[in-house]
Symmetry: C2
Subunit: 156 residues, 2 copies
């Protein structure tokens, strides 16, 4: 069994965008959706600027002891009226670099997101994970998530 | 079969908050979570102000020909890096007043949200619906949504 790798969770910067897109593309579902080109298409930087300017969105990366980015996660804090006006946390785009899996990096990122959502007054954290990602579902259950909902999607 | 009721979808106002909370509370899952009191607890108005100030969030109501509010829906437009930096639309808190169900009101609201998400550059619209809401799942499938994901939640 691989050793646990203790990581630092920090806010993503513009110069992390390339490595984040690399992780999003290195995935059975993501590979067809991304354009991992050099230079990276400007659409990614435009999206980074939009999300980075939004106080309700935090795109973070996990950085290992040598400063390498080995994971990413996006947390959205969503105000709403339900549950007595409590915000909800939505976790998206969780990825760990292929060569760094099974070292507790995803767990540290998700625990950060859950703690951050709690600090910001959320009563609920939610996420959608593809039906085919059985390992991910087991992972989230271990961290206290319940498969309580059906995640429905419509793609244009 | 009940007639279709054509509704106007408009942005929610502060004076709609009471009726929206009434619809959220009038639900097997929502009734235990809300505080439908007179006057309404200030937490709901604080949440309304937060979401109303957020350009990425649209809380809308459906209004019938006589001006009565008979439904609500919240759409969040979420920027992100994945899918070439496309935003995602997240639909939440869809409710139709009990006495107005089966008249196409939910469909008109969801179609509005899908069109709005498309206009705002989303490539994907997503939502979570509780496993127990089998009718809702059938409804969303009819509107083109796929039950592609597991919706996982952690409640504090």
């Amino acid at each position: 069994m691989a050793m646990t790798c203790s990581v630092t969770i920090r806010r993503a910067r513009r110069d992390d965008v390339g490595i984040i897109v690399g992780m999003l593309a290195d995935d059975p579902l993501g590979s067809a959706r991304e354009r991992l080109e050099d230079p990276l298409p400007p659409c990614y930087f435009r999206a980074f600027e939009a999300l980075d300017a939004d106080p309700n969105i935090r795109l973070v990366v996990a950085q290992d002891g040598e400063g390498a980015v080995v994971g990413c996660l996006q947390l959205c804090i969503l105000p709403g009226l339900s549950s007595q006006g409590a915000s909800r946390g939505l976790i998206e785009d969780v990825r760990v670099a292929t060569h760094c899996r099974s070292r507790g990096i995803g767990e540290q990122m998700v625990q950060w997101a859950v703690a951050e959502a709690h600090t910001r007054g959320c009563k609920l954290v939610e996420l959608l994970t593809h039906q085919s990602r059985v390992d991910a579902q087991r992972f989230y259950k271990r961290l206290g998530f319940q498969p309580s909902h059906v995640g429905m999607t419509l793609r244009f």
